[in-house]
């Protein structure tokens, strides 16, 4: 965001630059290799095939729904973790962040035993006529499960760096806690919330393991774009590569938005106070 145009002293040793270049190459090279491998004459027909479009549309819809759920549950969680003070707080944080380090397949299995037909809650839901596993709802739940920590981490960081002093002042001015949340806290951490939501969306879009385990791979119902790519790879490599590129493009757009988005929105002193919050991408 703050592109340096002057030649101010940066203090970065040359050898660090060299290693950084290798690291950047490590990320860029496979992507470039994939772009080279794309069958360009067939690209448009490949990505606009019915199966592809169905998978892409399902991916976008479920990722959007998961993002909404992440915001709905993630904002209160981040608030409680950043501002609360209660026994077991650290433990709660560890558990909320667990999906970050858990293999998604394990998450899928866990979800299956919670919401599956024979699961803890699934049995009760089954009686009520609700079946979650292997439905589009399951896709959304699986994606929410893995994406929630991204929003919580991002927002908790923003809340911590903002501090609670504005809230204290607002309270002494007579604002009820809900008013403080609505008119002070949320506007102040909006850049952090936006980048957290974008990250959650991106993570949902890329989700594979938990979805496959918990939701299966039914075309048009649970077969999202990553699943489609994985299946196509066995039969039609060209299609898999074309779809992969599509997913890369969507991801680049999303990440680009998360970097750029908050800047004009919070161009006042709000974003100036915590420049780290909008740029903090890796949790």
């Amino acid at each position: 965001m703050n592109r340096r145009r002057d030649s101010a002293y940066s203090g970065i040793p040359r050898w660090v630059l060299a290693i950084a270049a290798v690291g950047a190459l490590f990320v860029l090279l496979p992507l470039a290799a994939m772009v080279v491998r794309v069958n360009w004459p067939q690209f448009i027909p490949l990505v606009t095939s019915e199966a592809s479009l169905t998978a892409l549309s399902l991916s976008l819809r479920t990722a959007a729904a998961s993002t909404v759920l992440c915001v709905l549950f993630g904002v209160p969680l981040a608030l409680v973790l950043a501002r609360g003070d209660f026994p077991g707080q650290r433990l709660l944080r560890s558990f909320v962040l667990l999906p970050l380090v858990l293999p998604p397949v394990v998450g899928g299995i866990a979800l299956l035993y919670a919401f599956g037909r024979q699961g803890l809650l699934g049995r009760g839901l089954e009686v009520a006529g609700i079946q979650i596993a292997f439905s589009t709802t399951a896709v959304v739940l699986a994606q929410t499960f893995v994406a929630l920590p991204f929003l919580v981490v991002s927002l908790e960081g923003a809340l911590r760096s903002a501090g609670g002093r504005y809230e204290a002042v607002a309270a002494t001015l007579g604002a009820r806690p809900t008013t403080v949340l609505r008119r002070v806290t949320l506007p102040l951490v909006l850049p952090g919330l936006a980048s957290g939501a974008v990250l959650s969306f991106a993570r949902s879009l890329g989700e594979f393991g938990a979805t496959l385990t918990f939701a299966g791979s039914l075309p048009g119902v649970t077969r999202t774009l990553p699943l489609e790519i994985y299946l196509q790879r066995e039969t039609d490599a060209d299609a898999a590569v074309a779809l992969s590129l599509l997913l890369v493009v969507v991801a680049v757009i999303v990440v680009g938005l998360s970097y750029r988005g908050p800047a004009p929105a919070g161009s006042g002193s709000g974003s100036a106070r915590s420049p780290g919050s909008s740029g903090r991408l890796s949790p």
């Binding site: 002494t172 001015l173 007579g174 009820r176 008013t179 002070v184 006042g268 002193s269």
Partner: protein, 349 residues
């Protein structure tokens, strides 16, 4: 219709009891860590004491003790806080910042803005209404913050070193403004600056180690300090009098040339302030302007750090022990106190 407060907080070794009459402004002085900010936080409801009781105008703010547990949430206390940092909400305009309090109290939007405009005008910031906090200077932001605190018409206004973050040009302006808006308002002002106490408060409380060590009318405490801390503060020479074009004339007829700290009108009441370290002591009258030279009689000599503080009635000077010996200073000796006009600040009283 008073404010009474009594609280103890063991973790901070805090134990304070105090009361304020309606319209009374109290300055709280004390070294760092004495519990001044703790006092404000407990009153505002941002910090919970172990035991105690506080009430304002018959309304209980908190009552904590064996078997009783009453706690009024901060937003129901009517105690607005103005801190060192203006803490204006960065996403709201100056006007919306000031309207925030009335809006939170349930006042309709339009009426809240009306109130906000009134208070912005009151702090000479009407033209800043549309600005974002990021576009305000430190002094402007603090004025808007003062308007925001006043707009909720607090029963007790809490000020936590409101001037200490301002530069030397902005501070006097805001100090005069506070003097105007605090008149007849119940307020507690925590400060490091004895001048704030002198100008803004009716009464001074000195806090040390979480306890009140001195409590009394401002002039009495600063003129006859009993606590060590107040004595250190009171070192500042304060001469009240009438403003003249060049400085101030004291009741005893002494003329002080000085720097006018603010636009002053000759004839209005003012006060000249200068530190004892700026005062030199001579045995004979020194010549050369711009200097203030007064014939005084030494009343007392006392050690003050590695200096000797020479007291002559209400005035004092700091000299080195060597200089004191050279001059042969002793109580009863007539000497000249000389102070550069540049070291004398003249304030409206």
């Amino acid at each position: 219709m008073t404010f009474t407060f009594d609280a103890a907080l063991a973790a901070r070794r805090f134990e304070v009891s105090l009361s304020l009459a309606p319209g009374e402004t109290v300055a709280v002085l004390g070294p760092n860590g004495a519990g001044k900010s703790t006092l404000l936080a407990v009153i505002a409801g941002l910090l919970r004491p172990d035991t105690g009781r506080a009430e304002v105008n018959g309304r209980v703010l908190f009552e904590l003790g064996a078997g009783v547990h009453t706690w009024t949430a901060p937003h129901r206390r009517g105690t607005a806080l103005l801190a060192q940092d203006p803490l204006l909400f960065p996403h709201l305009s100056a006007l919306e910042n000031v309207a925030f309090g009335p809006r939170s109290g349930g006042v309709p939007k339009r009426q809240a803005r009306e109130t906000a405009r009134h208070w912005l005008a009151e702090v000479d910031a009407a033209d800043l209404a549309a600005r974002r906090p990021g576009e305000l200077s430190g002094g402007q932001a603090q004025r808007v913050a003062a308007a925001r605190a006043l707009a909720v018409n607090p029963e007790v206004l809490l000020l936590d070193e409101p001037l200490s973050a301002l530069d030397i040009h902005a501070a006097p302006l805001l100090r005069r403004l506070l003097k105007r808006v605090l008149a007849g308002r119940r307020a507690i002002i925590v400060t490091h600056d004895v001048l704030d106490a002198y100008m803004l408060a009716d009464r001074v409380i000195v806090m040390e180690d979480g306890r009140i060590t001195e409590d009394g009318p401002t002039r009495d405490v600063l003129r006859r300090p009993r606590s060590r801390f107040a004595a250190g503060l009171a070192g500042l020479n304060l001469v009240p009098g009438t403003v003249t074009p060049a400085g101030i004339r004291s009741a005893e007829g002494l003329e002080f040339a000085g720097q006018h700290d603010a636009p002053l009108v000759a004839g209005q009441a003012g006060v000249a302030a200068f530190p004892p370290s700026a005062v030199s002591v001579f045995l004979s009258e020194a010549h050369g302007s711009p200097r203030n030279s007064f014939r005084v009689t030494v009343t007392d000599l006392e050690p003050h750090g590695d200096q000797i503080r020479v007291r002559a009635g209400e005035l004092s000077a700091d000299v080195t022990p060597a200089a004191s010996a050279d001059l042969g200073l002793a109580p009863g000796l007539a000497v000249y106190f000389v102070v550069k006009a540049a070291a004398v600040s003249i304030y409206p009283a």
